[in-house]
Symmetry: C2
Subunit: 201 residues, 2 copies
């Protein structure tokens, strides 16, 4: 759908956060100033920004507010996207309470869990629904994305249910490899592994 | 310290998880079988494994248990590494309760927070200490790594304190760019941004 490559897309939120934190007195920004601040190569930043919908001006660079707006456009921040979350334990609960998703137009509409004591409650005003109903539930059917926060032993089962419901993108926090049809995009976040890699550098 | 490049290191936990999930009947594994299962290029997997301490045998591949052991060695799983966590809110609390760090030899020894109602309590048998004491605390001084889970407005302040205490590696969950001396390695996990990128693919 998006013509911007994934490696570039992954850097856009970094640029966006940086630009938002700048003072209003920074009316214009250049690839060079961004590269210096973020300790990235200037050529890399210039190429990345050239792939966005932002329009730079020779010798001036970018109007900061325009660049922010363009990056938000390219990251889909202005389009509301529904997501469901499966596994309302510690991490799932924390993510349902996190309000930073709204900056990217992402709306977590519901959580699913198999724990009877959680089903029927709400977390951050979002309902916790019965995990058994994932494939048929309107909340899933009205969502494009899902976040998996269940123990790894049941992650594939949950993934299958989500795919059945038509979910096309999954962010997986379970430290296991999930299998899904090719049209479903899965990305993994393994916090313990990330820390281990950091320790090995 | 480690001669394996970071991009390769990041894939080692993926290989490790896959190998651990295999049946005992899989006595040997090959680069090809791993590549097929993980939907990665065979050349990539072969090159990655060649950089590890594992020893492959021509026409046979790797003894599975030996490869697991080698990957664990290269990821430092067999060396206990202490870490502190700062910001015991929803996400921080969830990470302190997560027991998956132990697989990588990582031991979260304490949490820090500024909330008086949390200081002096324990989470998953780990003490919650006063955030003001970060630079001087023995827990910080005996740790090499830290996890930052505080709101972005105070993340840099926390980072400065950790650096002052001698922390050399930081995993940052705050959606903001942290500045630290060059010898300190910082990696960021921005969950909302990851989901936004996933939605843009």
């Amino acid at each position: 759908m998006n013509k911007i490559p994934e490696v570039t897309l992954q850097r856009l939120p970094v640029y966006l956060n940086y630009l938002k934190e700048l003072d209003d007195s920074d009316y214009t920004v250049s690839s060079r100033s961004i590269a210096t601040a973020l300790k990235l190569g200037e050529v890399l930043v210039r190429k990345d920004l050239a792939m966005t919908s932002a329009i730079g001006r020779p010798k001036i660079g970018y109007i900061r507010t325009e660049l922010i707006s363009a990056l938000e456009e390219d990251l889909g921040c202005k389009v509301i996207k529904n997501a469901v979350l499966v596994g309302c334990g510690g991490l799932g609960h924390a993510l349902m309470c996190y309000n930073g998703f709204g900056n990217y137009g992402i709306n977590i509409v519901a959580g699913f869990d198999n724990d009877r004591s959680k089903i029927g409650t709400t977390i951050n005003n979002k309902p916790v629904l019965d995990g058994e109903t994932i494939p048929s539930n309107e909340m899933t059917k009205n969502s494009d994305m899902a976040i998996i926060c269940v123990p790894k032993e049941v992650a594939q089962l949950v993934c299958d249910k989500l795919v059945k419901a038509g979910i096309k993108a999954i962010l997986n926090f379970s430290p296991t490899l999930l299998h899904a049809p090719e049209e479903v995009v899965i990305r993994d976040i393994d916090v313990a592994a990330s820390l281990a890699v950091l320790a090995s550098l």
